[in-house]
């Protein structure tokens, strides 16, 4: 895979603009806007997790919705069956996601390109099939009645959409901070090197498998976080969330935004989700248009919106 977008300054500028925009819309928007923003932010977290392994690790996962599902279902099970407050179960679900990723990653991280895609797709579908039939996880009906985190000890009520959106924004900022630090740290640099030439790195004594496995785990943990937040936002979870097309749409989001630039993933998630939502209100055959859009983006927008922004900035002379 070719070199990916990397420009820490622009990255920071874009995320600041996006966060400020989301706060403004959140404060002045109505109930649905706030709900919608929280949804976009959760998708952005998911997109960041995909962006991280696809761009830094060179692993394109079509089964990442599995981790979204693992996060969501663990939160649901922990908070309903075991009575653990959902704030804490978020952390537990991240932990569970990482553990499962460690187990899976041990076997699959060294598979190359297309094989990795097919195997993650099949594993994700295995999870989907299992969820669909599992009685513990509510089968095709899913699970309902998950509570949002109880933060009343600091005097706020997360059942307000306004507050929950802010809560998600907070998580987004944490994830952004974490991933941008990792990208700039030796781990990120190592991953860049491994992606560009795996054989050479192992020839000079680098731990390719360990680094790739770590990247896979980090990404899975973040996807689990997104799942956990998703289930708290909606209050229910259905197996649809774990279908592989969710991962596919996530990958489209990062292509739209620009691969490798963490903020691009957020930008892409916002744009794709808004277009999907608006289009499905206007026309009946929106899936046709979306599919066509995906194809055109893949064919003609190499660096996505991020590339466009960089191009405009260059034109303006910054």
């Amino acid at each position: 895979m070719r070199a990916v977008n990397y420009n820490p300054k622009l990255r920071l500028q874009i995320i600041i603009i996006l966060v400020v925009l989301s706060i403004i819309f959140n404060v002045f928007g109505g109930y649905f806007t706030r709900f919608f923003i929280a949804e976009i932010i959760i998708l952005s977290i998911f997109a960041i997790s995909l962006d991280f392994i696809a761009s830094r690790g060179g692993m394109v996962s079509l089964g990442h919705a599995m981790f979204l599902g693992i996060g969501a279902y663990s939160t649901a099970i922990l908070s309903i069956n075991y009575g653990i407050p959902s704030f804490y179960s978020t952390f537990f679900s991240i932990f569970i996601g990482i553990l499962i990723a460690l187990f899976i990653g041990y076997f699959i991280v060294l598979l190359d390109g297309i094989f990795f895609i097919m195997v993650t797709l099949a594993l994700g579908e295995m999870f989907h099939a299992w969820v669909f039939t599992s009685e513990l996880l509510g089968g095709s009906d899913g699970i309902t009645g998950i509570m949002r985190p109880d933060l009343s000890f600091i005097g706020i009520n997360t059942n307000e959409p306004l507050i929950f959106s802010f809560y998600s924004i907070l998580w987004l900022i944490i994830v952004y901070y974490l991933i941008s630090k990792i990208t700039d740290a030796p781990l990120g640099r190592n991953l860049d090197a491994i992606r560009q030439n795996t054989d050479r790195i192992s020839a000079i004594g680098g731990y390719t498998k360990a680094y790739k496995a770590i990247a896979f785990c980090i990404s899975a943990g973040i996807a689990s976080l997104a799942g956990s937040l998703y289930v708290q936002l909606n209050g229910f979870i259905s197996p649809e969330l774990t279908h592989w097309t969710v991962s596919g749409e996530g990958l489209i989001m990062i292509i739209v935004g620009g691969i490798g630039s963490i903020s691009g993933a957020i930008l892409g998630a916002s744009v794709v989700h808004i277009i999907q939502h608006e289009l499905s209100n206007i026309i009946n055959w929106w899936m046709f248009v979306i599919g066509l859009g995906f194809i055109l983006i893949v064919l003609f927008m190499q660096d996505g919106l991020w590339g466009l922004i960089e191009h405009i900035k260059k034109k303006l002379g910054y």
Binding site: M126, V298, L299
Partner: protein, 282 residues
């Protein structure tokens, strides 16, 4: 009872084989995983449905729907696939992912969301007695189609000049080009053939499984598993993988129904554990 199950498993395996062989040939030549392969299978079934409805002849549908599907494939190759041959895997996969959406919505717009059924031709609509058990003769016909395609492809690939050229282009495209083999043309025809086989699978199973939107997704993952287990790009791998997955799935559903959903994935995981490149590596 066992014989019936055996034949059912064989019939399912042959359907999988028809699908997987198209996908695996395309993968072998172009190194592209065509996620829209399931959509072509669906289009094959729907085109067959239309022909069957208008001309009231299953055999016309059986002959012309694979041909029309291969034209669809040729069209897709011409406008899309030949441009992304050297792109990275992610872009290739996402492009075919976009095609799934288009395929699904096109079918919905053209044929509606109702599920339809095609009845088997008169010749094959009755049952045959096999060891005191009645077995629908149409299912035997599906097995026969699968075996016929297998031998046909084997003959073409191993015993003809065209097949030799295809094998050369798979193994070493650059040397093949130096030897004045037109690899682009071979890619084009093989891609169309692969798509046509998906259409053939669609119309062949239509009398058994019916025709409905969403049938593409049901087979896509199974087909991918067959290809992964068998080893991408290998004809023999597609056959062995299809038989393995088909039999494990059919018998698993009867003997251990509570694990039926997961067992084929377990087979895939085990295969990958011991043979990361599939059973038959190219």
């Amino acid at each position: 009872m066992l014989l019936i199950q055996f034949l059912n498993a064989l019939q399912f395996s042959m359907t999988l084989f028809l699908l997987a062989v198209g996908l695996t040939i395309i993968f072998g030549l172009m190194k592209i995983v065509n996620l829209a392969h399931g959509s072509l299978y669906m289009i094959g079934a729907y085109v067959g449905l239309s022909i069957w409805t208008y001309f009231d002849s299953f055999w016309l549908a059986f002959i012309f729907s694979p041909i029309i599907t291969s034209f669809v494939g040729a069209f897709l190759y011409y406008i899309l696939f030949r441009h992304i041959q050297n792109a990275d895997p992610m872009r290739q996969v996402l492009l075919t992912f976009g095609l799934i959406y288009i395929g699904l919505d096109s079918v919905r717009l053209l044929w509606g969301t109702m599920s339809h059924s095609i009845s088997a031709p008169d010749l094959l609509s009755n049952s045959i007695m096999l060891m005191n058990e009645a077995y629908p003769s149409y299912r035997l016909f599906v097995i026969f189609v699968g075996i016929f395609v297998l031998f046909f492809l084997y003959f073409i690939l191993e015993r003809t000049i065209i097949g030799a050229k295809v094998r050369a282009s798979v193994d070493d495209p650059e040397t093949a080009k130096l030897l004045k083999i037109n690899t682009d043309k071979i890619l084009f025809y093989t891609f169309s053939l692969g798509c046509g086989l998906a259409g053939l699978a669609g119309i062949t199973v239509a009398p058994i499984l019916g025709v409905e939107p969403g049938m593409d997704m049901e087979v896509l993952v199974l087909t991918l598993i067959v290809v992964v287990v068998g080893g991408p790009g290998s004809l023999k791998g597609a056959l062995v993988g299809a038989l393995l997955i088909g039999f494990v799935d059919s018998f698993g559903k009867v003997y251990i129904p509570q694990l039926a959903q997961i067992i084929i994935y377990a087979v895939m995981a085990l295969t990958l554990l011991f043979r990361p490149d599939g059973l038959y590596k190219r």
